[in-house]
Assembly symmetry: C2
Amino acid sequence: MKILTKKREIDDFLGTLRKRGEGVSADVVNNTGNILASVRRGGDRAVRRYTRKFDGHGVLRLAPSKIKKAAGEADAEVVKALRLAARRIRRFHRKQKERSWSFAEKGARLGQIIRPLRRVGVYVPGGAAAYPSTVLMNVIPAQVAGVDEIAVTVPTPGGRLNPHVMAALRLLGVEEVYSIGGAQAVAALAYGTESIAPVDKIVGPGNIYVATAKRMVFGTVDIDMIAGPSEILVIADSSARPDFVASDLLSQAEHDPLASSVLVTTSRVLARAVEEELKAQIKKLKRNATARSALRRYGAAIIERSLEEAAEVSNAIAPEHLEIMTRNPRRLLPRLRNAGAIFLGSWTPEPIGDYAAGPNHTLPTGGTARWASPLGVYDFVKRSSLLEFTRQGFLGLASPVERIAEAEGLGAHVASVRIRRKA
Amino acid sequence: MKILTKKREIDDFLGTLRKRGEGVSADVVNNTGNILASVRRGGDRAVRRYTRKFDGHGVLRLAPSKIKKAAGEADAEVVKALRLAARRIRRFHRKQKERSWSFAEKGARLGQIIRPLRRVGVYVPGGAAAYPSTVLMNVIPAQVAGVDEIAVTVPTPGGRLNPHVMAALRLLGVEEVYSIGGAQAVAALAYGTESIAPVDKIVGPGNIYVATAKRMVFGTVDIDMIAGPSEILVIADSSARPDFVASDLLSQAEHDPLASSVLVTTSRVLARAVEEELKAQIKKLKRNATARSALRRYGAAIIERSLEEAAEVSNAIAPEHLEIMTRNPRRLLPRLRNAGAIFLGSWTPEPIGDYAAGPNHTLPTGGTARWASPLGVYDFVKRSSLLEFTRQGFLGLASPVERIAEAEGLGAHVASVRIRRKA
């Protein structure tokens, strides 16, 4: 991991981070477009054809008995852990529930009605990166929001079901599960087929084909976000333990060669010690090739003169995960503008947030934390404004409304008010 | 306006509505892409070049004295109306403010921090369709959210400033105003130039070039939504006044030949009377050619047997504006799932919501009310999750976190927990 101290070096590195994962090849775009178009036209038959081709089977909907059987093979301790995690995630997300409101004034009632989406699709990756935590983090907020129907797609390459994913689905009571994946699953959810009803929104992570398909169907349905490679930024002073810092930097680096792990510190001594720790710890990792590649390209220790300046670097990067390991982590909080999730203190490592703390692990990446939020209950509801005027209330506003409509040259707007004034 | 009674006719019409405004020509996409690329490369010089070409002047930032002078030419009664509207819009949007929260449990504190976006760009159309109400509806929610910097772009073809738009900017205290428009304005806001700092989010309506540019820069910055043609749907029974209904249908039809005006009613008598009224009222409109074209293609009266069935048709269309003119409008409310704004009763015509009632007039179109919300304060804030564990709190969750991380095959996640357990 390089140690950066000069402003120009730091700016160059921020530029490199920003360009990470930019652009999708024309091939991916074309292939995805073709799959979407065939499924839109061909429905179930097209989905089956692609599923045979990519996953080697032709099953669309998973029978409850098959889900139950696969879930039965899950490790009992893992299932217990998932149950605890689900309980904590549900409790946290309940705090995000918003209520409809309205208020009366002379001659009018105005308000905002909040309603859950009717039907949502959750994409759960399959194969090597099949994560039961994805099920918890995407399904629970939708359930808390009150979504009527939740359909899950999870590809099962070779027809093999992941026991822990199936256990997670069962413990949440999800029954509508399709063993399909890729752009064909996104297309089926967006457009609907003979056997899969279309949804209002698609959420969940996926590979480049899934991400591209989501981007393309946006407008026909809503989507959550396009997740980029994972990121961690640690702000630390000389009080931080280098072994803790190093292990947390590695916990993101192991995800993806494009993952980014950045330390911003006031202590050059700490930076050097973290470097040593990384060298020692990385050897023991199964995914050390991935972590090594990520650290080489998108890892750095940035030296700043003060924690305030460190916070500014963090705000510019707007990291997905931000850990604060300083003497007084809370004191820095007001300065931290942009981050998906903030982990305070040495005893709050990022993995605790990935699984069991309660907040969502689906977080804005690639600098989008400047404007985007963690996945939450608010992603599964929408608002309608409510307006109700009495005749008196209407008459009180009629004249200003006419004036503005006239100034904007909209005669029928004026007429709609005038016809009532004269009534 | 056609009267539809048969299920097949109605389904065909819904299909026509859905396809309305679908697709953007390759020319528009290419031209917009070129403009974005030149501004990204060329900065101010490129913006000036396009502004000279399209608007006939080379001014970027409007001097306060010029804004003041133009605002001085505004009609005093209109300015008074805008001031009243601004007050009411601000009061309504204040109710949308959300607060950060956190809660403690044994060994942990968890929460959600809500922060305003730092810098936002508001695109205000210029020329023929320069609307002061656009300024109020886009700037006020950002101000209520607490956005630090609001930059407005408003093209001024031929260098002519719209007095009412300038008056609206002045009464809200907006000082950073650029007299640029089109894709070049969107590019300047997204990428920044020597004299225009980049923003975090771009909001506001615009023509097809502006909409296409917003779609293309999404990801570099956030955008509000892609506004489609305007829509109104009126649910009415035999108690409704045909002249009121007709005038409200026309108030949307005058906007755009692609606008849609739909009556859904249980009364064939009302449908016929509305048809007569439309014929009579449309003659008096200045924009009657536009309204006529919109009504012919995207206007219809749909006859349903019950108000419940009428509500289902409305839910399927998910209109931008939904008016309820029935004997007991409130009774229908629980059945109305999808609508940008709901106007209850005969004395709540849609134009009152466009200007002065208080709720936002930027509403989801094209069926997106199934998942999208009116523009609001929530569009100008973002959330960060907050996690803080003590050593004891951490140890209580360490084992389940390790189990799940192991099941997902993420060794560095396991190590980050284990290294602390052993510490």
